[in-house]
Amino acid sequence: MLREITLGQYYPVDSVLHRMDPRTKLLGTLLFIISLFCANSWLGYLTAAVFLAITIRLSRVPFRFMVRGLKAILILLLISVSFNLFLTSGEVVWQLGILKITREGIRTAIFMALRLIFLVIGSSVMTLTTTPNELTDGLEKGLGFLNKVGVPVHEVAMMMSIALRFIPILIEEADKIMKAQMARGADFESGNLIQRAKSMVPLLVPLFISAFRRATDLAMAMEARCYHGGEGRTKMKPLCYRKRDRIAQVILTGYLCLIIGTRFIA
């Protein structure tokens, strides 16, 4: 039941995108999002769609995994589409009472929907091809310059990766405790809200205890191996840009220029 939740939806295959430096992928996602907000014509969205399709193809991740992320924003999508559809003023094409749809409204609604869909799929491509650890590594190195203004980048990144690492462990632990209490006749599914909240106590108390125990154990194990924060710390797999990253960066810049170019053509 609980086991099926997976965080970070990394899809393990080998592709150019999987092998790419996480910083390039972060930058790429950022540029892609910027490009979506620059595009303001059919041509612009078509370019973005082609670019996205090629990226998906390169990632070798089945398309249905990309679409999964869309379920989460379905309601947001519906709301923003209907707002744009009904509340944009302009040339009326259909009217019922106070509800009216305008030509401009249809256009904005479609663009808005495309923008949101591309945005989600675009960032899914990144999370599907990058492990959570790579991602935090990329963020740590990519934002390293913030160290100079006093932001403890390494510590934040370390906290992030530990938190990410602990989520599946705690889910498994919760699953185990839940089963152990069910074996003692506990019922987590029926009853009214108050009864259900009460029935969580036998699950939450042991879960918190185990989380604290694991946290102190981990802190002890890190100190035993002389962990002392980010200063002077080296990496087992240091991030470095390779040829494919340079190529990707050139392509990305070209793509962004192209999108900006479409603004002037239309």
């Binding site: 185990k176 089963k179 152990a180 209490q181 003692r184 006749g185 036998p202 205890i209 185990s210």
Partner: protein, 282 residues
């Protein structure tokens, strides 16, 4: 009264890239009052199997009968089943949550909607069975030693008055004294209360000493199902599965290799001692 599994199969993550067989066509029947030892390498499907026996996991295919009734039948009383088939998980002390020992043991019977008097008498009886006297009742379970915590957790399951008691490595992480105490109490429950016991363990010595029958799992399949003596005859095959026979069996084998005519299938230290004494006496 029996547990019967027919072609029990369990697949984790069916239909995804991570599909994995945890159980493959497992068949067996366990009679009332048996002491079953369940052994297998880590990941052989033991833990998955025992979670089926009280309905915590549902088989992907196959049937499971408890006292002749199919537990997967529509409207089967799962809560009733869980009170009859008690399951003690690995490291059961991690499930303790109440402020004192007595209330924690009361949790199980309370869930069965019994009267307050019955709940308390069952809790007292259960704590008595695991050898914890009244001085422990008001202590916090978190202040006890590892072995005591574990006995509280086992009492928590015993207070449901199960007919079958399943224990998943009840001695893991305990010192030798705690180990012997726990196993001794399990054996006593079996002998005096007539409980059916299913014991998962990695200690072949314990298996040889306590179990009437051994079920050996390997990669989700049942490999052997026989008396310990007969199973340990296949020690070469057991080794191939990452298991072993009791130490004493190897000593006996070595003695035989040296030409000393002790019997071949000795599995406990006492048996071997007697056999060797007989030889010397001759």
């Amino acid at each position: 009264m029996s547990i019967r599994a027919v072609n029990l199969t369990h697949i984790y993550g069916q239909g995804t890239a991570f599909e994995q067989y945890a159980l493959k066509n497992v068949n067996f029947e366990i009679q009332d009052g048996e002491f079953i030892g369940l052994i297998g390498h880590t990941g052989s499907g033991k833990s998955t199997l025992i979670q089926h026996l009280n309905g915590l996991l549902k088989a992907t295919s196959g049937e499971l009968y408890y006292n002749g009734e199919n537990i997967y039948a529509h409207g089967y009383d799962m809560k009733g089943l869980r009170s009859k088939v008690g399951l003690v998980f690995q490291y059961p002390e991690h499930q303790l949550f109440e402020a004192d020992v007595f209330s924690d043991v009361c949790f199980g019977p309370k869930n069965l909607n019994l009267s307050q008097g019955e709940i308390e008498s069952r809790a007292k009886e259960a704590l008595n069975l695991v050898g914890l006297d009244e001085s422990f009742y008001k202590q916090s379970p978190f202040e006890l030693s590892g072995g005591q915590k574990r006995r509280v957790a086992i009492a928590g399951v015993l207070a449901m008055k199960p007919d079958v008691l399943i224990l998943d490595e009840p001695t893991a992480g305990l010192d030798p004294k705690g180990r012997d105490e726990i196993l001794g109490q399990i054996e006593k429950l079996h002998r005096e209360q007539g409980l059916t016991i299913i014991l998962v363990s990695h200690s072949m010595e314990d298996m040889a000493r306590y179990a009437d029958r051994l079920i050996v799992m390997n990669k989700g399949e049942k490999m052997f199902d026989d008396t310990p003596r007969n199973v340990f005859r296949h020690y070469k095959e057991l080794e191939a599965m990452g298991l072993a026979a009791p130490q004493i069996t190897y000593i006996v084998q070595a003695l035989r290799k040296e030409g000393i005519p002790v019997e071949e299938d000795l599995i406990t230290v006492e048996e071997a001692r007697d056999a060797i004494l007989r030889l010397i006496g001759k």
